[in-house]
């Protein structure tokens, strides 16, 4: 079963929530919707579910037009950010509710409810009421209700936001396994690039109601098609510096020059915006041709074993994601190095012009995951 969106647009009170979104979700695929708050993730999910109707465009399931159909006519399941269960029913009845309504024989209901409950490790809680459970268990109940139905489309709207860090990791690992054996399309909305990378599958980057890019997650991460997509899919955001290419030389500001490397040579002359990932900045040179940049420290954020160093220089601000704990004073002068062969280049209108070649270190992607 595949889901196709064709030019889906949704306008509410003169505000465009979704702008011409077109995508095809393959059967059995795991899809992450990545975008900031108000990017249109929830709006898109609600349209997919049939909770909201489109202003224009079409929604097709298995090639069949379901645009005008309400949520009850579509075989979908949804898990919300809030823990939504029926508080007056036991966990068992909560999970069984979609099956009871579908008039499944009682014996089969019992088997399926217990099976899903044990998959989600809540089989010992079946006789409790949802409000007697912890947050994680409540969300497991909601997930169990979504899973038991064997829906062809399962939607997760930031389901882990209200859970603590440890539980989120646990859930993330389980999610992949839960859906591996199923043939349904999973759509998972998140604001965190690291979560998208951890979940894998496909990623759709949304920004201001528009679909920026859709493809395999690692591919979208490595090859952003626009500056916006690159900024959305990087945490902390990719650093962008304006610069000129003139006669085989790149110039940032007035004082920083370096020779073009092989890849950037193809760009030609003119003004460009160069992007460098925070993880690719370092305190010591990694290669002979690394570019040194003198900067002033604004803030050093230490999170566990990593340091996020916020700095400014003559052309703007930057963030460096450094492994290990480093302490810096405010306004301290630091020299950062960045590898010129890892520069992304974007045109002034934001479209991607150059993507650096294959990374030399294999942990390149992992460097962004924390």
């Amino acid at each position: 079963m595949s889901l196709t969106l064709e030019g889906v647009t949704r306008v509410v009170a003169n505000e465009t929530h979704l702008d011409e979104v077109s995508m095809i979700l393959e059967p059995g695929s795991f899809n992450v919707l990545l975008g900031r708050t108000l990017a249109g993730k929830t709006s898109l999910m609600r349209v997919m579910a049939g909770l909201d109707q489109v202003t224009s465009g079409r929604v097709l399931m298995n090639g069949e037009d379901v645009t005008g159909l309400g949520v009850r006519q579509r075989n979908v399941a949804m898990v919300y950010q809030q823990f939504i269960n029926y508080p007056h029913q036991t966990v068992y009845d909560n999970i069984a509710s979609p099956l009871k309504l579908a008039k499944v024989p009682r014996k089969e209901i019992d088997v399926r409810v217990r099976e899903v409950a044990s998959l989600l490790h809540i089989d010992h809680l079946l006789s409790r009421k949802p409000l007697e459970l912890s947050g994680g268990q409540q969300q497991r109940t909601a997930m169990a209700r979504a899973l038991v139905k064997d829906a062809s489309l399962v939607l997760f709207d930031e389901p882990l936001v209200n859970l603590d860090y440890k539980l989120r990791e646990e859930f993330r690992e389980e999610l992949g396994a839960l859906f591996a054996a199923r043939d349904c399309i999973v759509v998972y909305a998140t604001t965190e690039p690291s979560e998208a990378l951890a979940l894998g599958g496909h990623t759709a980057v949304l920004h201001e109601g528009r679909l920026m890019q859709y493809g395999p997650t690692a591919d979208v991460f490595r090859r952003p098609n626009t500056l916006t997509s690159a900024e959305m899919f990087s945490e902390p955001p990719m650093n962008v510096i304006g610069g000129h290419i003139h006669a085989n030389e790149v110039t940032f500001g007035d004082d920083m020059h370096f020779a073009l490397d092989q890849g950037l040579r193809g760009l030609g002359e003119g003004h460009f915006r160069f992007g460098v990932r925070p993880a690719h900045l370092s305190l010591s040179p990694q290669a002979n041709d690394d570019l040194a940049l003198d900067v002033v420290v604004d803030l050093a954020e230490i999170s566990g074993s990593e340091t996020f160093l916020h700095v400014h220089h003559s052309r703007g601000t930057m963030v460096a994601h450094l492994p290990g704990v480093h302490t810096f004073d405010v306004n301290q002068k630091v020299r950062l190095y960045f590898p010129i062969h890892r520069l992304y280049a974007f045109a002034d209108d934001g479209s991607t012009l150059y993507i650096p070649g294959a990374p030399q270190r294999t942990d390149d992607v992992d460097g962004e995951v924390h």
Binding site: A49, L51, G70, V71, R72, V76, A77, M78, Y80, Q82, I84, Y86, P87, H88, S97, P98, L101, A102, A142, R145, K149
Partner: protein, 265 residues
Amino acid sequence: MLKRAVLLGAYVLFVLLPIYWLVNMSLQTNREILGALTLWPENLTFANYIKIFTSSSWYMGYVNSIIYVLMNMAISMSVALPAAYAFSRYQFIGDKHLFFWLLTNMMAPPAVFLLPYFQLYYTIGLFDTHIAVALAHCLFNIPLAVWILEGFMSSVPKEIDETAFIDGYSFPRFFLRVFMPLIRSGIGVTLFFLFMFSWVELLLARTLTSTQAQPIASVMTRTSTASGIDWGTLAAAGVLTIVPGIVVVFFVRRHIAKGFALGRT
């Protein structure tokens, strides 16, 4: 600690004294009531109560009151539940104004509507029926019910509705099986308020009835006769008027504090 107990005791005494006095009078003969001041019945008598329970003109007053109050509760609830759901879940043109307008109905004194109601009901033949009083009391009870229920409904997340529809509930089934149990205490509290306001309302109930649907409060005025006022029976009737209220409060006592917060926690 002692000071608090004294103050509290004084307050309770102040509140309960008139009620005690009413009970005291209802158990006395008229002669004793009009005689010297007595703090408790010297000649305990239940004659006043027996009179009320044996004379149909007396007890029918209670029956009439209960009939129109129950009718009003049923009408108000069946109108207010869907209305409150609409106000809490949907946005439509002028929704806020309409909600405010509903509330303003509670600000108008019933006396303002007395004449038009009387004229109207008399003309269409509703005069002196239970339904006339029940409908007239909707004037203030429906806005009240909508107001209370809207608060309770808005405290239920909209996602529960959507989850139910995703699970496959039809709207009526969802409303009865999922939604109403969730706002159970709100419904209980609303019923209590509906009962109270309809039960104590006197002006409309008296004016819109004569003999067939006469409320108890109206029957009580008949104790004033040429031979003076029948104080004992009047007091007994008064005591019996308080009893239904006490019964209702007993059943919703656990939800009542939540009810005054109107679900807005």
